[in-house]
Structure formats: C-alpha cells, structure tokens
C-alpha cells in the first residue's frame, strides 16, 4: 500500500486556476466514486478549499506510485476538462513519506497562506468525513488522516503557532481577551458598517460575546445588519444613552471627524462604575478621539495599532513555525516506521497463510488414500501439519523481523513474490 497525492495551492497557482480545479461540495461524493477504481486507486480523499485542492489517494500497488500519480492527473484532467499542460504547470505531486509529510503540514496549517490559521484543520476534517460518507476511505487513509489530525493538535498545543492573531479582525478579539479575559457576557457595539468592523464583531461573537448593538446613521441599515447578525439596532440619536452598555465598541464609518469624544466616554464610564471599555477604531480618518486613551479604564486602538500587533504576531509565528516543522519531521518518521511495521506483518501473514494452505492442500490430496480416520487421528494430523508449518516458517519470519537494514529489501522481494503470485492466480481463475 502506498500514499500518493496531486494538488494545487495558493503557492503554485493563481486563483483563476484554483477555482477551475475546485470540487463543489455537493459533488465531492460523486468525484470520489469516480476516483476510486478499486484497482490502481483503492482509497481517496479530496480536500477542496479556496486556497487549495488536494487529491489524496492510496494505491495497493507499492511499486506503481508513478502510475497512480498519473492516474490522479488523468482524473483531475477528465473531471475538470482542464488541459494537461496547465495541470503540469501548476500542480504538484507527492508519494510515500513525502506525501505523508505534505498532508501533515497542510493539516497543521504550515502550508497555509496565513501560517497557523486554524480553519484548515477543520476543512481537512470535513473532507475526510465526506470521504467516509462516500465510503472511499479504508484502513490506510483513515489511519493517515487521524494521525494528521493528532499531529495538527500537537503542533497547536506545543508551539505558539496559532496563539496570536495575525489579521486585524482577530487582533480585536485578542485585545478584548486581554482586558476582559472571557468574552462571555460582554456587549459589543458596532458603529457604522465597514467590512472589517463587521468581521471583527463576528469574531467577537464567535468567541463568546453575548450581545451586539448596531448603530448607524441610517436606521434601516442598522436594522438590516442587526437582522443578519442577530443583534439589536440602535438609533444614532440614542448612541450616548446606550454607550454605557457597551464593553467593546468597534467603529468604522465614513465620517471625517471624531464621533466619540473623551467626555462621552467619561460619562459612560461613570454609569458603568468604571468597568473597563475597549474602543477599536477601524475607520480612516479616525472616528474615536485618541485622547480617550488617557482615561483610566478606557482603552483605544486605531487601525495602525491593530496592524502593528498583527505584524509582530506574524513574525512570532514564523519563529514558532520552525519548531512545528521539527515536530512534523518526527511524526512523519514515526508514521513511516509504523507503516513499514504494518507492511512487515502483512507479508509475514501472507507467507504463513501460503505455506499453511500448501500443507493442507496436500493433506486433502492424500485424504482418500488414508481411509477412514477417527476424530482423534484427524486432530493429530492437523496438529502435526500446523507444527511443521510453524517450524518451517519460524526461522524465515525471525530473519525478516531481525534484519533491520535489509528489511526493506527483503520485504520488497517477498512482496513481489506474493504480489506476482496473486496476479497469476487471478489470471488462472479468469
């Protein structure tokens, strides 16, 4: 059994190519059925996100990974009716341990556009679930993918790769956590409706913020957005009255002057009995007077501040990524060793079955000439044959298990022997 994959990612292809090669979610099941022919390709998983497409497969034919890879290219070529030249130019392929490593790196978010972003692990998990539903995964890919998820978890736990925010909208969450610790029970107030501000508000809600108030000069817009985000629309005139309720204010409007003054915040803080308030200004020009930052228990950040935090976190992440790579190396080695172990057991099993079958076929052949045997005699014969099989195979198995360096060589020779034999048998039957 071998693992092969063909893929395309943001590193190798522009978005026009990626979107042409993407697999629609609803059609992945069909695609998997087309991919897995149960001959050259025995198992398959398709990961398709906006940044990458990975067609991962297992082939039972150890020495034909190249054939399996070209089969994958053919499959993509036929499925998307995309010309071969484009595919060759933008796709990459991996096999065996290189494939394992690639899958571990992708799942652990080391190959992502934003290294360490957490979504990819979930996306790979979904892809694997879909493959399970389509019954296109068997023993090998199940083991591989589960290992990949465990590795991703390990990388996340043991390195700081995902610990800090690298996008502006996530930095707002990070800052809120540094003030409130836990966002449960906090109220977010969204002023205006910039895309970035909406995204930040959504992240805050995802991280536990309980309530969102939406303020807009045009009340209808506030109502529409409130419906979308399950929030509460607030009239612009009521802004001052409602400000004390807000723990986190996110502001993004087209106004050219300061909309929130130190005086307003001072009054809000009094009403709040000095419970801290975090104000995030994503508008350019700024809408929140930076002088508010001089008040105790009020914290103001503008877009430049967020940017510089994101920048600093990004370089921190790059350092952590190096540690993650070391973990991946280790895990790939472990997985490869476990696979070889599994291979060895499979070969040993096949060998034992073969010899045992031989012995019992001979018994059946001579059965007639033995005449009537009592049950005891029958048993004695079986015990004897089993003993001969064991004694015969034992030194060979021992040799196989003990030969560390020659291991793979021996293994390949044995596998070839049985593999070819298997094929011949099939032909005989046909």
């Amino acid at each position: 059994m071998s693992i092969v994959l063909v893929g395309v990612s943001h590193k190798t292809a522009p978005v026009e190519i990626r979107e042409r090669l993407a697999f629609a979610e609803s059609r992945i099941c069909d695609a998997l059925h087309q991919l897995v022919d149960r001959e050259l390709i025995s198992e398959g998983v398709i990961v398709s996100t906006c940044n990458r497409v990975e067609v991962i497969a297992a082939t039972p034919k150890q020495h034909e990974t190249e054939a399996a890879i070209s089969h994958l290219y053919d499959f993509i070529h036929r499925y998307h009716s995309c010309d071969a030249a484009t595919l060759n130019k933008h796709c990459y392929h991996r096999s065996e341990t290189a494939a394992v490593k690639h899958i571990f790196r992708v799942t652990s978010s080391l190959d992502s556009m934003v290294v360490g972003e957490p979504q990819i692990t979930g996306q790979v998990k979904e892809a694997f679930q879909r493959a399970q539903e389509a019954e296109s995964v068997g023993h090998l890919l199940t083991r591989l993918m589960n290992r990949a998820f465990a590795v991703a978890k390990r990388v996340r736990n043991e390195t700081g790769i995902g610990s800090s925010a690298v996008s502006i909208s996530f930095v707002a969450v990070e800052l809120a956590k540094k003030v409130f610790e836990n966002l449960q029970g906090t109220t977010v107030m969204l002023v205006g409706a910039g895309e970035m501000a909406e995204l930040a508000a959504k992240h805050l809600l995802n991280y536990g913020a309980s309530r969102i108030l939406i303020v807009n000069r045009t009340y209808e817009k506030a109502v529409a957005l409130a419906q979308e985000m399950k929030g509460e629309p607030v009239r612009f005139e009521d802004f001052n009255k409602r400000l004390p309720e807000a723990d986190i204010v996110i502001c993004s409007t087209g106004a050219t002057n300061y909309l929130i003054s130190p005086d307003q915040v001072r009054r809000a803080l009094e009403t709040r009995r000095n419970h801290p308030i975090l104000l995030v200004d994503i508008s350019v020009p700024r809408n929140i007077d930076p002088a508010i930052g001089d008040l105790d228990n009020a914290f103001v950040f503008d877009v430049d501040d967020l940017q510089s935090i994101a920048e600093a976190n990004r370089s921190e992440r790059e350092r952590e990524a190096l540690r993650a790579e070391a973990i991946i190396e280790m895990e790939v080695e472990r997985f490869a060793a476990a696979m070889a172990e599994g291979d060895l057991n499979a070969v040993i099993g096949a060998f034992r079955r073969e010899v045992s079958a031989l012995a019992f076929t001979e018994l059946e052949r001579s059965r007639k000439r033995l005449g009537n045997l009592s049950d005891d005699q029958e048993d004695a014969l079986r015990v004897m044959l089993n003993a001969i099989v064991n004694k015969l195979t034992h030194p060979v198995i021992k040799q196989l298990r003990e030969s560390e360096d020659g291991h793979s060589l021996y293994l390949a020779a044995w596998r070839d022997l049985y593999h070819k034999k298997g094929e011949k048998d099939e032909k005989d039957e046909g």
Binding site: K178, F180, R272, N274, N297, S308
Partner: protein
C-alpha cells in the same frame, strides 16, 4: 521539625522553578503537576508545624523564625484554594518564589529557644481564654498578610498589563500576564478576604491585650501601624463599593497598603515597643 521543613523547602523550590518555566515559555501545560508538587510541599510543611506544636505544647508561632515559616504556609494554603478557581499561569510564578524565600528565612533564622518573651509567657500559661485567643489572633493576622500579598501581586500585574495596553506595546509581559479584569478580580477578592481577616485579627488582639493586663490599647508602634493598615484597606473597600473604584487606582492603593503591611510587620520591630515578636 527541621528535616520536614527542608523537604517542604525543596518542593517549593521545584514548584517555583516549574511555574517560572511555564510562565516564561507560555506553555499551555495544565497545572496539575504543579499543584501536586506544591501540595506535597504543603503536606510536609503542615506536618512540621503540627509536630512542633505537639512537641512544644504551645502554639508554635512566637518568634520571627516561626512567623516566616507560618506565613509561607498560609500563602501556599491560600494559593491552593485559589488555584481551583483561577487558572492564572502568571500567579504561581510570582507567589512560589516568595514562599520559597519565607521558608528559607525561617530555616536560616536562629532558634531563640526559651525563655519566651514575658508577655507570651503569660499568654501561654495563665488562663484558657488567652491560650485560645493568642493562636487565633496570630493565625488571623498572618492569613490576612497572605491575602494581602496576593492583592499586592495582582496589583503589580494589573499595572504592568495596563501599561502595555495603554502604551500599545505588546511585549513579553502582554502575552504572559492575565487579563486586566482577572488581575482586578483576584486582587479585590483577596483584598476583601484579607480585610475581613485583619479586622478579626485586630479585634482578637485587643481582647487578648485586655485579658492579659487589663488594657485594651498600649499605643505600641505595631498596634498603631496595624490600625493604619486597616484604615487604608477600609478606604479602598469603601470607594470600591460606593464609587466603583477599580483598575489602576485600586491596584496602586493596594500596593500602598502592602507597603504599610510590611512596615507594620517588620518596621515596627525597629521602632521598639512590646509587640516585637514575629
């Protein structure tokens, strides 16, 4: 029991190192190992105190050596109780080195042995009420100090974290220290607990005075300082409850309060007076 105290000291040292490493590497390791280490140290320490008590026949907290050991014990107990509620990685990294230092001081200080100071002699042997009140007084006051130490540490963490946020400087401290609200909550909770204990401690002290020699108040430096401490913490509590003071202001005041605690505890000794033990 010196040997048990030494075992406790080593376990506290291991705990201090462990927590500092967790703090420095931002590791997400669960604190179970740490709690086990500290719990073992605490058990050895408790055994040492209990054995001393039964051996001496009186509450073994009469001299600075005893007090150092007991305050370390109280801080650990306080931390163990608190850690079930707050999982703040930064806190043990500050608390445990202090625990280690107090335990070490206790081991290094010479044992003054007998005779005991005169006032204590009376307290231990005269009548049952003073025999009970003295240990209660000492225990309450030392536990209040342990709580105030935690308030002090939270206050410092708050101020450092607040400065990072206000200066928009997100360095090592920013990532490692807990959120402002957490610092504030731990600080205030410890302050309330410490204040309640100190109040009871002062009251039992006054009662003990009267039992011993018929006078409630001696104008002893330590008595006066204790009262000043009490008023400072009362002041903070009052404004917290009435005006909602919190954050920076409370953090600063609790640092001031702790400095006065230190003066009461150590400084009053230098000023003389009869209340010189511990």
């Amino acid at each position: 029991m010196t040997i048990l105290l030494m075992i406790a000291l080593l376990l506290y040292l291991a705990g201090a190192f462990y927590s500092i490493i967790i703090f420095a590497t931002k590791s997400d390791r669960p604190g179970r190992e740490l709690i086990a280490l500290i719990g073992a140290g605490f058990s050895a320490h408790t055994a040492a105190i209990v054995i001393d008590w039964s051996y001496l026949g009186y509450y073994p907290i009469v001299n600075p050596k005893d007090v150092s050991s007991f305050i370390a014990w109280a801080i650990v107990l306080y931390y163990l109780v608190m850690s079930s509620r707050y999982h703040v990685r930064a806190l043990p990294a500050f608390i445990l080195p202090l625990v280690f230092v107090f335990t070490l001081i206790s081991l290094l200080l010479p044992d003054p042995g007998l005779p005991l100071p005169l006032v204590l002699e009376g307290a231990i042997s005269t009548n049952t009420i003073t025999q009970v009140i003295f240990p209660v007084h000492v225990t309450l006051v030392i536990f209040s100090y342990a709580a105030f130490i935690v308030t002090f540490i939270s206050g410092i963490m708050y101020l450092v974290q607040e400065r990072e946020l206000k200066a928009k400087h997100f360095g090592a401290a920013f990532q490692r220290l807990p959120a402002l609200n957490t610092c504030d909550e731990i600080g205030y909770r410890s302050l309330s607990i410490g204040f309640a204990l100190l109040t009871l401690g002062v009251v039992t002290g006054i009662v003990w005075n009267n039992q011993r020699d018929g006078r409630y108040w001696h104008n002893d430096p330590k008595e006066v300082m204790a009262l000043v401490t009490w008023f400072i913490y009362l002041f903070i509590m009052h404004y917290r409850l009435t005006a909602g003071w919190r954050g920076r202001r409370v953090a600063l005041l609790s640092i001031v309060g702790f400095v006065v605690v230190l003066l009461t505890w150590l400084g009053a000794r230098a000023l003389g007076g009869y209340h010189v033990f511990g």
